[in-house]
Amino acid sequence: MDAKYEAVIGLEVHAQLLTTSKVFCGCSTKFGNEPNTNVCPICLGHPGVLPVLNKKVVEFTTLMGLATNCKINSKSVFARKNYFYPDLPKGYQISQYELPICEHGWIEVTTTDKEKRKIGITRIHMEEDAGKSIHDRGNETLVDVNRCGVPLMEIVSEPELKTAEEAYLYLSKIRQIVRYLGICDGNMEEGSLRCDANISIRLKGDSVLGTKTEIKNMNSFRNVERAINYEIERQIDLVENNERVVQETLLWNADLNEAFSMRSKEEAHDYRYFPDPDLMPVFVDDIWLKNISASLPELPDIKKERFVRQYLLPVYDAEILTQSKPIADYYEKVVSYTDDFKSASNWIMGDVLKILNEEKKEIPNFSISPEFLAELINLIKSGAISGKIAKDIFPEMLAGNISPAAIVKKKNLLQVSDVKVIEKTVDEILSSHPQEVEEYLSGKEKVIGFFIGRIMKQTAGKANPQIANKILHEKLNSLKNN
């Protein structure tokens, strides 16, 4: 970015809520059913139907409000957003406008230069999703109403984000929180998490906002970053060339890495919001709110701090382990069976996450139970097996969630720590490799590695490496002194 300018970015995030039924009717929210099968007269917008609010939606949105430090309004009101589109059966979307359920919150993000930034959340409100229009069938547009009425929560940030990176971090934090709360699966590619960005630029130090544009259709985290950077550069180019930024809505095209104008300000909809007379205001009372607060899980930042404190982990480890709640839960289960907190962290951050990544699996489907991973860590810690043996048997554990102790026993892999046994092996190796001994004595200390390798080979890796090392040095040094 040209250093003269700064960008002002606000995000509108739509999160599909994981309720089993729709927000205003009893239809299923299940994704991927045959088109137009999750429908009823209500979500089809037939004459005479009325919406009835699914209370779960209020609960989920309130949880999000609490998790993002919002004020929960004791009274909020549903409003109609009026516009015509074939996948909007009633000709209006039920949303919230003047009185949303949550307002005035914030979340904190940490930028790559370790700067902590508080990003304001203007509001969070409840609304219904529209259907899907399918345009790629020749001349016809088909409409699938299954998604109509699936509950959405819209989270609107203050225009306080300054870079695409911050927008990315903010969005990641939102996703992390909704996943922690279990209220949205946070999948941008499948559209259960969607993001629109409002972007303007101004000269650094200016207090007046520039003309903003809105970018839609950024359906991955990577695209959010790319599209925002694209738009910032485009606006700077315009201004640098003495052209004006036009207020408009742009659609991001991920294939072309370019944004295209969708509609200008003049073509913008006048949504004619007004309170929906079919729904009563939503009243949130203190007792209910207290119960919801009590059900709030430990949030990622707090969990991270606790991991540092309780398990004496580096912040880096705690950050990774608390990235997702299932991983944090897995870690805590492992350390409930072992007190080697750091090894548990290393195993999970290393081998476990690597395998999950390779196999595109989530940790609840990981085949090694926390008990067995802890058992493996304890076997190393007690000296019963070496780290190398542990790595060797890990694939076997993975294949069938088998107890590592059982594998060690079956394969006779217990580490040899008996000094006499190791001494005998060392003696044999030294006497059968006089040339290497000679090299060592002449000052080539590197051959130590050769001898360790031989010892391990001869003991099938079972020799306790510390003891073997110690004995080897003692023997060689006594030869040196002779």
Partner: protein
């Protein structure tokens, strides 16, 4: 035809074998056919009703039957009945059939009422004369050159013309009370929220009430008792207890009756005025306390009413766009053209006028000046009533400023037409119940109605007093 004074009497006569429900239905069907020129019905359920009549009759004879057993009811064609047409008297829904049943209809059926057909009305219940139906005018049976009132004109005519025992209508600004007044029958609009709106095609959601037309107070009480109550499908329905209206209407109730002076100023025809004043004298003679009251903000009712109802209507009617069901214009090449053509071709001019008005008052830049201000006016109008009801139990007004007018007389002047609802819209703004009582006739025999209003959920008082009037004051 064996006559009966109300449905309880009818049940008794059926039970005793003096009246056959099948022949009763055949009588009505024949009469509907004979009076086809009134154009009261959009659809008649000939194929269904006779066998239903037989089964209800055997239920009555077995001694186990519903509260409305055998009552023959016509319903306004804005109410949904599964697998039956639901047109709202509009071309845009001409071919539409509902895939579910309205709560009120289900409640009637569950109490063994017999639904005989669907009645004509103003398109989407917008109108005061039934001249806005895509299926033609409805004629007033008292004088066929006159309108029956609207928008529930067909329902009023079905009862006034003796084509059924009772009918359901809907009342957004007087659409039950005004046609009841024009046709000379009882017409009750309950408290907003008393009766579920689920299955009622919305015109103005925060105003629409479902009510009934009958020839007597007992039947309207019985119907209200059945159709009232909380409905899980309607969040705006009330969970207040439903009194046993039909059993309690003959309990003594001597109300203080308020006469709002603002309802007797210019615009009220002399004949109606005289008739009402005459009626008030009769009340006094019967030792009813009558006192003048004031509803000071009455002048804002029509404006507030038309701003708010058209705003809601503009949104409620957006779904009729030709995209998913209903009429679709065939010659359109773009989506916008399809919307424009479908709606232009299939919606009537009054409906279009109100959609445009409503769209305008909600538009950005105009919302505060119109919609928000009208909401404020609605609150002060409601406060007027709250205040008045601290002094009186019931309020008595003319139902309409005139008797039924001639067909075509006002159809060229929408504003003039809107003024025929001047005394009825306030009840919908305030959400209170009101009833039309066929109290008098003018020199030509045209009915003149009085309107009684009560506080919210005080329908029992309204019905008790109506029953008292019916028994003591009306010239049978």
């Amino acid at each position: 035809m064996i006559s009966y004074s109300n449905n309880f009497d009818k049940i008794e006569k059926v039970r005793r074998g003096e009246l056959s429900l099948r022949s009763n239905l055949e009588y009505f069907l024949k009469k509907i056919e004979a009076k086809k020129n009134l154009n009261a019905f959009n659809f008649i359920f000939n194929e269904d009703v006779l066998s239903i009549a037989d089964s209800v009759e055997s239920k009555i004879k077995s001694g186990s039957y519903g509260k409305l057993a055998g009552m023959v009811i016509a319903v306004k064609d804005v109410l949904a009945i599964k697998n039956k047409p639901l047109t709202c008297s509009s071309k845009i829904l001409q071919e539409f059939r509902s895939i579910y049943t309205a709560t009120v209809i289900q409640k009637l059926i569950d109490e063994d009422a017999i639904i005989i057909g669907k009645t004509n009305c103003d398109e989407f219940a917008m109108g005061s004369s039934n001249e806005n139906s895509a299926f033609g005018n409805v004629l007033n049976p008292v004088d066929e050159s006159r309108v029956p009132g609207g928008s529930s004109g067909g329902s009023a005519v079905a009862v006034a013309g003796g084509l059924c025992d009772a009918s359901l209508g809907t009342d957004t600004g007087g659409s039950i009370r005004q046609p009841a007044s024009f046709c000379g029958v009882f017409g009750l609009k309950p408290t907003y929220g008393r009766v579920s709106r689920f299955g009622l095609t919305a015109f103005a959601s925060s105003f629409d009430s479902i009510g009934a037309f009958t020839n007597n107070v007992t039947d309207v009480a019985a119907i209200l008792e059945v159709i009232s109550g909380k409905d899980e499908n309607d969040s705006t329905s009330s969970n207040k207890d439903v009194p046993a209206y039909s059993k309690e209407i003959n309990n003594h109730f001597s109300p203080v009756v308020g006469i709002p002076k603002e309802y007797f100023s210019e615009g009220l025809s002399v004949e109606v005025k005289n008739a009402i004043e005459n009626f008030i004298e009769q009340l006094k003679e019967n030792n009813i306390t009558v006192k003048e009251i004031s509803l000071p903000n009455t002048e804002y009712t029509i404006a507030a009413y038309y701003i708010l109802t058209t705003a809601e209507a503009s949104s409620n009617l957006a779904r009729y766009d030709g995209a998913r069901y209903g009429y679709r214009s065939q010659d359109s090449s773009t989506l916008l053209q399809m919307y424009n053509n479908s709606r232009s071709e299939a919606l009537g001019s009054e409906v279009k006028r109100r959609i445009m008005l409503g769209t305008y008052v909600l538009s950005s830049g105009y919302y505060d000046a119109y919609y928000r201000k009208a909401q404020k006016a609605r609150r002060i109008i409601k406060n007027d009533f709250d205040e008045a009801f601290t002094q009186v139990d019931l309020i008595l007004t003319p139902t309409s400023p005139t008797v039924a007018f001639k067909i075509g007389e006002k159809s060229s002047d929408p504003l003039e037409m809107y003024l025929s609802d001047i005394y009825t819209t306030s009840a919908n703004l305030a959400g209170i119940p009101g009833i039309n009582i066929p109290a008098a006739k003018d020199k030509d025999g045209l009915p003149i109605g009085i309107q009684l209003l009560s506080p919210q959920f005080a329908e029992l008082n309204l019905l008790k007093f109506s029953y008292f009037i019916e028994k003591n004051l009306l010239n049978k």
